[in-house]
Symmetry: D2
Amino acid sequence: MTDLARCLAEAYAVALPHRRDGKVADYIPALAAVDPMQFGMALALPDGTLHVEGDADTPFSIQSVSKVFTLALALRRIGSDLWTSVGREPSGSAFNSVVQLESEQGIPRNPLINAGAIATTDRLIDGRDGDAVADEILAFMRARAGDPGVEIDLDVAASEARTGARNRSLAYFMDAFGNLRHPVETVVGVYFRQCAIAMSCRQLARAGLFLAMEGRDPLTGEQLVDPHRARRINAIMMLCGHYDNSGEFAFRVGLPGKSGVGGGILCIAPGQGAIAVWSPGLNEAGTSLAGAIALEHFAYAAGWSVFD
Amino acid sequence: MTDLARCLAEAYAVALPHRRDGKVADYIPALAAVDPMQFGMALALPDGTLHVEGDADTPFSIQSVSKVFTLALALRRIGSDLWTSVGREPSGSAFNSVVQLESEQGIPRNPLINAGAIATTDRLIDGRDGDAVADEILAFMRARAGDPGVEIDLDVAASEARTGARNRSLAYFMDAFGNLRHPVETVVGVYFRQCAIAMSCRQLARAGLFLAMEGRDPLTGEQLVDPHRARRINAIMMLCGHYDNSGEFAFRVGLPGKSGVGGGILCIAPGQGAIAVWSPGLNEAGTSLAGAIALEHFAYAAGWSVFD
Amino acid sequence: MTDLARCLAEAYAVALPHRRDGKVADYIPALAAVDPMQFGMALALPDGTLHVEGDADTPFSIQSVSKVFTLALALRRIGSDLWTSVGREPSGSAFNSVVQLESEQGIPRNPLINAGAIATTDRLIDGRDGDAVADEILAFMRARAGDPGVEIDLDVAASEARTGARNRSLAYFMDAFGNLRHPVETVVGVYFRQCAIAMSCRQLARAGLFLAMEGRDPLTGEQLVDPHRARRINAIMMLCGHYDNSGEFAFRVGLPGKSGVGGGILCIAPGQGAIAVWSPGLNEAGTSLAGAIALEHFAYAAGWSVFD
Amino acid sequence: MTDLARCLAEAYAVALPHRRDGKVADYIPALAAVDPMQFGMALALPDGTLHVEGDADTPFSIQSVSKVFTLALALRRIGSDLWTSVGREPSGSAFNSVVQLESEQGIPRNPLINAGAIATTDRLIDGRDGDAVADEILAFMRARAGDPGVEIDLDVAASEARTGARNRSLAYFMDAFGNLRHPVETVVGVYFRQCAIAMSCRQLARAGLFLAMEGRDPLTGEQLVDPHRARRINAIMMLCGHYDNSGEFAFRVGLPGKSGVGGGILCIAPGQGAIAVWSPGLNEAGTSLAGAIALEHFAYAAGWSVFD
């Protein structure tokens, strides 16, 4: 057992008892039905090594973790022009706040809050058909995961669409300020599907590797985004990845990360690897409770926090 | 010439032509009178090496850079109880905004915005006399700088006090919510003096070393704060060190940093060293314009950005 | 010529030169195309007398003036339960602000801002088909105008629907908080139609009479709403009828009123009568510029301001 | 017994049982100690008639009711230039909110919220000594009350000064935006004294008469402010007199009014008279609970609501 594998095992063991402490997201039935006792971890290294613990092969709804990947795709497609549609600063607000949008003319603060992710998806669409873009996102996730079996959970997507009033409100709000280039329903149609992608920890950790390696997928050899764009994405994840709990996560884990209400968290250790954890119970900020504990212990044990 | 010294020299050369591009702070005469063409840099390494460029020995008003040190002192004195008075999350607002204070019952978002720094100073006072606390801060800065010649610029302090209506407003606002433990005039009296400390880049870089070395001053051997507190401070600097320009600084420089309107910036490279730059011309966010360019180039050349 | 007729004629003459000073609403083509030189006034008295000046028989888009009538209909239909969906206080904000909605859980401040009018229409629908409700509103306006020729301008309604992103955003926002009882598209479908009702000053003044007469239409003898509900509507018009220009209108005119971006204003003089003015050019607050001048002079000349 | 006297007696009888339902202000000891069972009313008519009920001769702290009189004095002294320092629109916020001040550059929304009253007092000072201005205010109140015995309760003023952190915060905030022309301590020194004026219902109703009579004190014959300024003050009272409860008060009472946390309310019936009520128990909005009930019944019985 390598040192990193041991760190992972220890982190898993420390966090396991905390699975019950969180609260499973219940705003759509498909998420509410998930067994809260599930807990998985995966560590992907640039040489292709993958260490796993627990339910690392069970697919879960990646939800907001998808925002990181559509951000990468949008930057690859339209480059810096993306920043005319969305900012790059912490919002200091909840994930779905609209207050800042009003005072800042419909430009969301960053791509990792809902409004910003919707604006990013709008720019990624870039005149194309919504289905084509959803296909591109899915194909990208499959390629990054090295697994053609990654799918969009259409039940979850349909549930999101039915209950997505707040996200539609954000989209129409940006539209009213002229900050959407496609019809609201097209944009949220893609957005609801990207959130509904189901992946396992193993797949997700593997998928995040390119962000740890200056934009280059070390296993396929492809330069997916320029190095400075990978740096940009990592910086945004560090500062904005957990809404108004980002400061706490940065202190505790010390790595760029993005959480989703499905209970998944993806963390990037630049130059080292990528870690995915999944446990459905969430803390008050909507981040996997046991997952954050596991990441804190792993980062500490591995000496990977960038702040020490 | 070592590699790091060469990186510093290159960064200095690249940034030097940009001295004129910024705007010198003019809200008090003592700052407005500073020659904008001055530019200094210093790099302090844990082995005691100090590399300098330009006006590295000219004292300047450290202003908000002082917030980092009073945060360290407050955490050392009262520990985690500090977090009952001030938060640890980005504010998403300007340095002197009061909006969040109203909706969050007088608890500022973090110790690096003005309200949060005032609350931190209030807790650092801890029942003592204001002069005693100002003395403690000054003694700490002298010890960190390894130079007993560090002084408070009393002209600047007096100017701050005369023009400090906004800071007094923030202090009275927190007081109204019961979030100050000492009289407003006592607290802002210390605060105005800490902001008026004058240091050179050489002194400031040396003073920041303990934050790069897990809370231990490598030159005196003293453990000044616990390692996890140094990590906390670095994380807060990364997320909140430049107000609503923190995301941009994190991307460009990739290191925890804190800027002041005097034109100084202190950057911490955990495990590596501390860098201080000074150039009075500020960008729109109130951060030294040439200084930020220099840090960006240095961090890139040295490979110290934590996001690559 | 009666005294009141003379007051009306004088007010018309005073305001006429100011027709060019305002700016015609241009957010939909149908409004932008209106000739800004048109100007009409009508005064309806409880005995059936109607005094008119200028273009008093040209239909215009009543827009937000419709909010007063749907408020009356909603209060008649569901009574005080309406106040669980919408407040009765000034908002201190622009007509389409969303900020307050977020901090107040999707409950708009009053029925005369857009969000509040949409919430009111939602309650008026009360489980019925959207078309039926639009028909009811139109029938009510015809009956109040004493003129079966009042129509909805379907071009305007279609334009509103196409450009109504901000209103849809407000509606979805309220929906996200559970404060809409019908599908967003149903609600805004009715709302866009009520705003697109076209009426002349003659018709509109006549239609407002019941609010001046404690809820009873003096010409048909019908008690349309209870006296205390008419008082409620008048109080809301006085305090909230002109968004963040309500205070200025109250001072200048001294009567409950409601303006629309089509350039119409309806004013109620309790116990005395109702006045409608129309001039397409708007002031910065979106109220007819010449219309407000005319009302100010008329109210002063007639001695009808409630504040003297 | 005249009709109006009977209306007053009835209103008193109806409201009396509600004295216990409110909550006495307790932020300063001098107010907290007031017996909540006290209840007085007075009606002043332009012919000099005064009708009273209950504890109409017991002095109470008029608190924010004083804002109406300093507004009149400031308008008399500096005229419309006052409106460069303070607005005339409802705020939609609590009496001591600072949020709007930040987005609107330190200009408070209206003279009847705390910030606006402080700005008004600042303009009233007009270069004079604070004591001289406090003397002017007191002399004006004595003249209006027709009673040289009106005094400032210095205990209350001292308590206000000691606990006035929020008001000082508002004052420093405006000062930071350059919207105060005198030192903060001078301004709040006058402000705390004006709030601490003690008057009985009899005195207060008498004092308000000039606002009912187009700015002319009917008993002394003095034109104290121009008629259009009296109209302005009445309009502001109607729209802003009760903070975020102004809409409810307007509906229920239908008259311009101003409440104070001491439990007093002054209501103006333009052309008719002035009514003062006092009962220390407050509703949630800080308005006398029994007092508002009494005014509602009186206005209804007298037919004085301007909205019927």
